[in-house]
């Protein structure tokens, strides 16, 4: 033991009937009784929780017993602290955190003069080390970025629709020209992708039969909608939600995410909401056996905008 430990320390005390040590409660006996009840009920609830878990009771019983138990114990403990413990007030001095000027200067000098001058004197070494660390910082990103995932390349620019892809529904059945009644809608995919992640997310297309004859949604698309079958990308051009709602009377496709509305008869031009572009239209044809097929891929990238989208 050092000498310091033997120096007398002064402990401040208060007399037991000091008003600051009295409980806040006006009637401590009553409060104590209430707290006892809280503790008893809380303990019973928690035991009940154990029993409920044991017998595999319904979830709400588990929650009620656990919650009730914690609440009663908690209220009891808070009341104990608030009403039965010394009410105070007590005080603690604050000491300024700032050190003396001498200490501060010594600290600053250590950094600026001692450390700084070492580097100043060996500029070459400093530069070389800095360069090495810089290179390290860059190359360490290589394995990280490569492991994170592939580069986008042009995968966002096209879908799996090809010239001659069969139009199939969710179960993979090829759609024939007689399948949809006028006014009905179906989600379709290029054959072979209907069960793949990419097919679901990128290739998804809404097929709507708007009439019985070839339909023109826009100038230059006269041949795209044979027998009234119009097909648009189902990926909203705002943020990519599936444009799943079809308002037949208004001929609108509605995106439930932020309520963008696209005009089905007019090239899916957005009529309302935050979507900036029409849904791309898929050119269709009907082959000699009566199956719906795509003339080509979409002519623009589907879905939301991105920098490389031309």
């Amino acid at each position: 033991m050092t000498d310091e430990h033997r120096t007398p320390v002064s402990l401040s005390g208060l007399s037991s009937n000091d008003p600051r040590l009295q409980p806040a409660a006006r009637n401590p006996e009553l409060v104590e009784r209430v707290i006892s009840v809280c503790f008893i009920v809380g303990t019973l609830c928690l035991a009940g929780f154990g029993a409920c878990y044991w017998i595999d009771a319904q979830p709400w019983k588990l929650g009620a017993t656990l919650g009730g138990g914690l609440m009663f114990l908690g209220i009891g403990i808070v009341a104990w602290g608030k009403y039965l413990m010394p009410r105070g007030p007590f005080v603690e001095e604050r000491h300024t955190l700032a050190n003396s000027d001498a200490d501060r200067q010594a600290f600053a000098a250590a950094i600026v003069e001692r450390g700084g001058s070492v580097v100043q004197r060996r500029k070459l070494l400093g530069g070389l080390l800095g360069g090495g660390m810089g290179i390290f910082g860059v190359v360490v990103m290589f394995p990280l970025l490569r492991s994170l995932g592939p580069l986008p390349k042009r995968t966002l620019q096209h879908t799996d629709w090809r010239s001659g892809s069969y139009v199939v529904d969710q179960s993979g059945r090829r759609v024939e020209v007689g399948d949809l009644a006028v006014g009905s809608i179906e989600t379709v995919f290029p054959e072979g992708t209907e069960n793949s992640d990419r097919g679901q997310a990128v290739d998804q297309t809404v097929l709507i039969r708007v009439s019985n004859e070839a339909f023109t949604t826009m100038k230059g698309r006269e041949t795209w909608a044979p027998h009234g079958y119009v097909a648009y990308s189902k990926v909203c051009t705002h943020l990519g939600c599936p444009v799943g709602l079809y308002e037949q009377e208004l001929q609108l496709l509605v995106c439930p995410c932020h309520q963008s509305m696209f005009n089905v008869t007019n090239g899916a031009v957005p009529q309302f909401g935050p979507a900036p572009r029409p849904l791309p239209q898929l050119p269709l044809y009907v082959d000699s056996s009566g199956f719906l097929r795509s003339q080509s891929d979409y002519h623009q990238a589907v879905g939301p905008g991105f920098w490389e989208r031309s």
Binding site: L11, A24, A25, F90, A201, G240, C241, P242, G244
Partner: protein, 511 residues
């Protein structure tokens, strides 16, 4: 016989006046030298004010998140592998779904206590973020962030961002229809960043959306990386708090140079432990009686399907609202697209808001030229400028939040979506602009009120038999700290009046 007693007494004597506990503490002090710091810590004073509990709510709901979260990891399977469901929830029988979704349904229906734990976890998250926001508001409006506490303001704001991010990650894990749509939107938001957006998105998702790696990645982030960072920052937050000591409201002998309140041990420990139990209890009761995120009703995620009720958790509402009301301006040219319709509301706007929050203490210092240390809090009405800025910001966020339910509002008021959209666009601008002068004015009005900020006790008015009225103030509230008493340092010992009467209260111990 007397020998036995004597040895017992000798043993007691050898242990010293504080018995076994004292002896163990001596041993500990020999090795770590903790006596002085430990004593100071137990005497640490906590100011008594309800608003100081807000940070505690955040802390305790975070503890509940950790405990319930560990339970969930025992059953949740973070995998996008497709399985066919044959579990105890009949309506989904035979459906194809990811293991993540199937294991969450199992947690809800087959695991004992699983549904309760899931719902408690979700509720604790909502409470966590909510408590942080309200805690932050109290720190802001009372000026607790001023010098020397700017650093803790920055640590705290970072915690808010991390809490929101981790909430989103966790919400996404079950891979249900609603949360999957949320991930899709997040992916598109990342895509919108000029130049690097597609690279970022591909790196985060391991390729094009959705891929099969995002659930396992979110799982690692949600259960390991982000919580570790939160724990680190919460520790830093509390360390700074102890080092710099609490702020306090002025009055009753409180000065810039002291802290008045209850000591850590035993009063604060009791109150705060009880409070932990109460927060736990409320979470459990919510988990028991308030259904939250019933993923089995939404069904498994399928990129080509959509549910009608797409709504994120509340703390994401302001982003969703901004995306809804921002106009569809997009740039297209020179072979490139800049999706301003996404970039501005979902990237630039939150960036601006959070940067504003981070640098607010510096902005304020610039305007007030006040470089003093502040330990006494402001009453919000005494600083009308700051209060008005805060209310403006909150009302702006509030309007964005309301804007996230344009469709619900249109249905509720039976007006067209168009009307609601236009109305919300105007309101989001007008309400905050009006909020500023109104708040400023109200603050000035409050300043002129007499006795503002003091706890009021009712006067009891009685009419005597002669018809004379008398008003007597009722006694103070039981839990009010008595204002007539002068605050004393926390006593080390308490002496009985009978044996040591008249002593000054200082005892010298030779060690």
């Amino acid at each position: 016989m007397s020998d036995v007693i004597n040895t017992e007494r000798a043993k007691k004597q050898a242990l010293g006046p504080y018995g076994r506990v004292g002896k163990s503490l001596d041993e500990l002090d020999d090795r770590l030298g903790v006596a002085r710091a430990g004593r100071t810590f137990m005497d640490k004073i906590f100011p008594d004010h309800w608003s100081f509990m807000l940070g505690e709510i955040a802390l305790y709901s975070f503890l509940i998140l950790l405990v319930t979260g560990v339970f969930l990891t025992l059953y949740f399977i973070p995998s996008s592998a497709i399985v066919t469901y044959h579990g105890s929830y009949a309506p989904l029988d035979g459906q194809k779904m990811t293991q993540a979704f199937a294991s969450t349904v199992n947690l809800s229906f087959a695991v004992r206590g699983g549904l309760l734990m899931r719902q408690m976890h979700h509720w604790a998250c909502d409470i966590f973020v909510g408590a942080i926001v309200i805690h932050m508001a109290r720190v802001f409006f009372t000026g607790a962030f001023r010098k020397p506490r700017e650093l803790n303001w920055i640590v705290g704001s970072t915690l808010l961002i991390l809490a929101i991010v981790n909430g989103f990650l966790g919400y996404s894990l079950p891979d249900d229809l609603v949360s999957g749509t949320g991930i899709r939107i997040a992916y598109s938001i990342i895509l919108s960043v000029p130049l690097v957006g597609t690279y970022l998105a591909f790196w985060i998702f391991g390729g094009n959306f959705p891929g099969t790696i995002i659930i396992p990645r979110f799982f690692i982030l949600h259960c390991l990386i982000v919580p570790l960072v939160i724990i680190g920052l919460v520790s830093a937050h509390l360390f700074l708090l102890v080092r710099q000591k609490h702020t306090q409201f002025p009055g009753n002998g409180r000065t810039e140079k002291n802290v008045v309140g209850s000591p850590m041990y035993p009063v604060f420990i009791a109150k705060t432990t009880g409070f932990l139990f109460i927060v736990g209890g409320i979470t459990a009761l919510l988990g028991a009686f308030a259904q939250v995120n019933p993923i089995w009703q939404f069904g498994p995620y399928d990129a080509a399907r959509i549910s009608y009720a797409v709504q994120p958790d509340w703390y994401m509402g302001f982003l969703d609202g901004a995306l809804r009301i921002w106009p569809s301006w997009s740039f297209h040219g020179w072979g490139h697209t800049i999706p301003f319709e996404v970039l501005i509301p979902a990237v630039v706007l939150p960036g601006l808001i959070f940067n504003f929050v981070f640098v607010w203490p510096m902005i304020e210092r610039k305007f007030t030229k006040d470089n003093e240390i502040h330990n006494l809090l402001d009453r919000p009405s005494n600083v009308p400028m700051r209060t008005a800025v805060g209310v403006t910001m909150l009302s702006f966020l509030g309007m964005l939040f309301i804007a996230s339910s344009t469709d619900v509002l249109a249905k509720f008021f039976n007006v067209s979506l168009d009307t609601v959209l236009v109305a919300m666009r105007y309101l989001t601008v007008i309400v905050p602009i009006l909020a500023f002068p109104i708040t400023y004015r109200i603050c000035h009005e409050i300043q002129t009120l007499h006795g503002g900020g003091r706890r009021k006790t009712p006067n009891v008015v009685a009419r005597s038999a002669e018809g004379e009225y008398t008003a007597t103030p009722s006694p103070r509230y039981v839990d009010d700290v008595p204002s007539h008493l002068e605050a004393a340092p926390v006593p080390t010992y308490i002496h009985e009046e009978s044996e040591e009467s008249g002593e000054s209260g200082v005892r010298v111990v030779d060690r």
